[in-house]
Assembly symmetry: C2
């Protein structure tokens, strides 16, 4: 693929999606996405996405506010390969075989494209960064649009240090590995003052909650955010000692962001 | 202060501000803030802010789209103490003397309040987390609203790993300390796969750029984002080796986010 063969290139827009994916209730789009983001999204016709079905569902919601430049049937929607979903864009396995530049052919031919994930910002706690990297390598302009990002809303609302923080993805599934990892994160959070954020597949929420209460020191602060941007949003922040006297605040259906700090 | 003396408490809203603070051009508010955020902000009358003057300027811009519930003169706007600005909310010095609960008196009396910084999300790469923490301690509900966050836009658009990343604030000012810190961050970024983001006071941009090119390995990837959400946004991502052959892309007036990764 020659990056220069087709004259001016298109732009790759990173289009955030609402955080209500898989939830019983939906946030009105205009309450969580700027008009500018919705308008830009409505004029795109070429997409790279995590999941085509949920991308179409989101486009349908946008269409109701800002009519799409092309019908849903005419939209060109390409899914990221499964290996990227499962192993991440920057893993050592699986993703190595994937050439994201192939997905950007339309942008090389001058069309603007959108990158989209199922919830929140693509390429943040979600696949997509290999596509963004490929865009830079091909000289395609990358423009991130404003929208909801659960991690960011969670750290802001946690009361933990937001001037030094890390998002570390998922924890190990094995109990002993997980406990070790939690103590490692607690040292970073408490001794080095860097708040540590992580997420979990909802059906493991209760298990991780028990591990947190068992593994961490009484004075360590633990914040929990779920339902962000929705009416039933729940953001709580307490010491481990305080949490130990309360019933488990998570269920096994609702995605949550966990954060620990000093 | 008795948290329970006044019946139902108000909510503390975290209100993001546009990223054009101190810039020659402004982003139209509706292009970077959801209607929901602007509407909620317009009905608040009690504020805690980083700087009262810039808070008023922002409220004036909101008023032009969504008339404020109280005139600018009637708005109650309290500034965070200077010690918090300079030393952060979670430092060991200065901030220790500051009791953020005092600032939340109106919320305890049932009024909704807004927390606001000069640009982006309060309490993220900005002061304010002590107020959020105090709200949790007083049983005041905390609701983060959606808006632009430069760090998040930068990591998404960097093409670096967004499934494991850290924001580490500012680098040391001393040259030798800074070089040491950069090599430390490079190890985390390259060996441990955790992208590292940091910011700098604009007038030191060129100095830090030289330090980056001198201290980091040729294969390390360095991304730079400035003017985020503005028409002149500039987001570039290259290896150190590639950057070394190009003119310095930063100036000493424009705030920038730097990110390094594998």
């Amino acid at each position: 693929m020659n990056a220069n063969q087709h004259g001016p290139k298109g732009t790759l827009y990173l289009v955030p999606a609402p955080l209500d994916f898989g939830c019983d209730v939906q946030a009105p789009l205009e309450s969580v996405l700027p008009q500018g983001t919705l308008q830009t999204a409505s004029r795109l016709t070429h997409w790279i996405c995590e999941n085509a079905k949920s991308a179409r569902a989101y486009l349908k919601r946008i269409d109701a506010l800002h009519p799409l430049a092309a019908t849903l049937q005419e939209q060109r929607i390409d899914e990221l390969p499964r290996a990227v979903h499962k192993k991440g864009d920057h893993g050592t396995k699986g993703s190595a075989q994937f050439d994201a530049r192939m997905m950007l052919a339309a942008a090389l031919q001058g069309r603007d494209m959108g990158l989209i994930s199922e919830a929140g910002m693509p390429a943040v706690a979600d696949p997509g960064s290999s596509v963004v990297r490929a865009a830079h390598d091909l000289g395609i302009k990358v423009v991130p649009l404003v929208g909801p990002v659960s991690l960011l809303l969670a750290i802001a609302a946690s009361g933990l240090n937001g001037q030094n923080f890390a998002f570390v993805g998922y924890l190990p599934q094995d109990g002993a590995d997980r406990a070790r990892r939690l103590r490692e994160l607690e040292i970073l959070a408490v001794k080095q003052g860097q708040s540590q954020l992580f997420i979990e597949t909802p059906y493991r929420n209760a298990a991780i909650w028990q591990a947190l209460l068992q593994s961490l020191q009484p004075n360590t602060r633990l914040a929990l955010a779920s339902g962000l941007t929705l009416d039933h949003a729940d953001i709580q922040s307490r010491s481990i000692a305080q949490w130990r006297s309360l019933p488990c605040p998570v269920d096994n259906r609702t995605p949550a962001v966990f954060a620990i700090g000093a």
